[in-house]
Amino acid sequence: MQATSLAFETEAKAALANPALQEALGKIKTGWQANRTKAAAALPEFEALRDRGREIKNHTLQHLDLYLEMFEAKVTERGGHVHYARDAAEARAIVLDLCRTAEARAVTKSKSMVAEEIGINEYLEANGIERIETDLGEYIIQLRKERPSHLVGPAAHLTKDQISDTFHEHHHSPRLEDPAALVGEARRVLRQKYFAADVGITGANFLVAETGSFVTVTNEGNAELTQGLPRTHVVITSLEKLVPTMDDAFTLLRLLARSATGQEFSSYTTVMTGPRREGDLDGPESLHIVLVDNGRTKMLGTAFQEMLRCIRCGACMNHCPVYLAAGGHAYGWVYVGPMGSVLTPQFAGIEETYTLPNASTFCGKCEEVCPVRIPLPKLMRHWREVQFERNLTPPTARYGLALWAFFATRPALYRFGTRLAMGLLGLLGKKAGRFRHLPLAGGWTVSRDLPAPSGTTFMAAYKKTRAKVS
């Protein structure tokens, strides 16, 4: 899938001028962001669990080959199948092949970011297989032919009115205003689809090496209906979802919901081990787990290995001032917000995405709330370095930096220059006390005034005071 991240600035500007989007984004602050603060405070062990979460993921990644082999052996022992996919194209081919073997005409799908990443949605449809998203948010954006704008709430960019319009248009029913009625309508429409599906596709939040189990987490209960009704269950997931033991999975689960939505626990956490057992009355007859690499092994052993700890909770975006202003679509690919700014250059190439690691004020809030303590600003800085090395930085920024470096490495000249500039600005701005317009600083003054400097520099004032004291 082509990333459109280079248009970040244009898209962000459009987002700021879009009142519906700003209304929708405002709800994240009062909702998920505030709830996360409360949930973290309500569990005394929360900070210790974050340390442990980091430790679990670090240990797993350091022994990933051993845990992959352990997981695969256990899944096979239980009668399931593990498929490895080197890249997105291979993953798509495996999933299509599994659907064809199951003679599938329709598949239901519960939310999976890896599925978005490999572009399975368009691929299945292009190959004549009907795909129905069952997560409500994902269903809404499927109808609207949009990308998810948030890890946890794919339709977080939409207001209730927009969803009313979408349902009215696609369900050929009277326009509903009440959220409860909208949920009820989606439930009714999707219910029939569950029964008609030949294959159910889900993601996985965690894979448990010691038992060959995998864990899904939803609030709607759609993952259980997606995997529980069709004959074939396909899990699209990725290497770094592994944890060593069941206890480790539950340690991370205690972090996941609290960090994501501020819930104590999501409504449905399901641990599945193998396909339907002898004598069971329900459950899929065949189980396939597709383990996608798609560039993850390139991150192993590098500074970006830390990013593989990510458990996809969305806390970094819920707390990011840039995300909360620009929304998810401005990021131009599957993963958005601070975690997306680190991951997208890895998947889509820095040449196509170098705007993203720059879409940050480095305020540090993302790292502060990350349940597995990923140093997101540090990793974005790494990408900026790569961008500079590859000559991708815009010429104005490059020359600007070179000019600044010229002066900064010549202190006498630097002080002379700043004294001159401050003196001049101080004089010019003396009357108004501020500048409404300033040449070369239009980016600043377009939305706010620049306070006029006092007319002297810190170094000059310091020198003067010191002279007085001595």
Partner: protein
């Protein structure tokens, strides 16, 4: 695609770059990890006396819109179920897990209640099943799948009723799984941890119940016959 398997595992090994002489030590670290005692990572709040655990379970369950009623002895279950269905204006009809333990309740005491046994289909409005455990930590019930406990009972009907004996309320998720393993010796196909009815915030972050799964979750806490029963904890 065995070529892909070898390729991906090869990439992982190459990236980790362990020398052959480190291999045994790496395997030892993996073995040691599994053997570590993890008691320290279980939140203290669920680690209480039996009665306090039940109290905490009820508190957290109600906080996520689970309805809870506590009764004494299995004989009281049918009456509570029938009353619950009446209160919510639901038909006196349910599909029940073919779990023999549920037969201990005297269902014939409610002659109007029509019961079928098995898994649910789209036409069933109310499902009833037996929980393996209750988790006090977050007011969660664990329903383990099996021949006698089909999973769809807890997901397809709009109303889900779960019978939970009070002596099965534990503090933490790990203890709930341990209880299941103690009794059966193996993981089931599906361990369903359920914390409240189905919900979504996908429409402008407004909480709505009954997105795909049940709109209502009713937990009947059952004290052993002649055991303690606290009427003030009722529904």
């Amino acid at each position: 695609m065995s070529g892909s398997r070898a390729a991906v595992l090869g990439r992982v090994k190459a990236a980790l770059g362990r020398q052959p002489e480190e291999e045994a030590r790496a395997r030892a670290r993996v073995a040691a990890w599994a053997a570590t005692d993890r008691g320290g990572f279980v939140p203290a709040r669920g680690q209480l006396t039996a009665e306090d655990r039940i109290g905490l379970f009820i508190e957290y369950a109600r906080a996520v819109q689970t309805e809870v009623e506590r009764v004494s002895g299995p004989a009281a279950i049918p009456g509570v179920v029938a009353r619950y269905l009446r209160r919510h204006n639901l038909p006196q009809k349910l599909v029940m897990a073919p779990e023999p333990a549920l037969d201990e309740a005297n269902w014939s005491s409610q002659p109007l209640l029509r019961i079928t046994r098995g898994t649910a289909d789209d036409s069933d409005q109310t499902g009833l099943t037996l929980a393996t455990a209750g988790v006090a930590e977050t007011g969660t019930v664990l329903i383990a799948s099996g021949r006698e406990r089909p999973t769809l009972l807890g997901y397809l009907p709009e109303t889900c009723i779960v019978v939970l004996p009070t002596d099965r309320v534990v503090g933490a998720y790990e203890q709930a799984i341990a209880l299941h393993l103690e009794e059966t010796g193996d993981l089931p196909r599906s361990l369903n941890f359920v914390t409240g009815p189905s919900r979504t915030g996908d429409i402008a972050q407004k909480l709505e119940l009954g997105a795909h799964g049940p709109r209502r979750l009713f937990v009947v806490l059952v004290d052993p016959e002649g055991g303690s029963s606290d009427p003030s904890a009722g529904g």
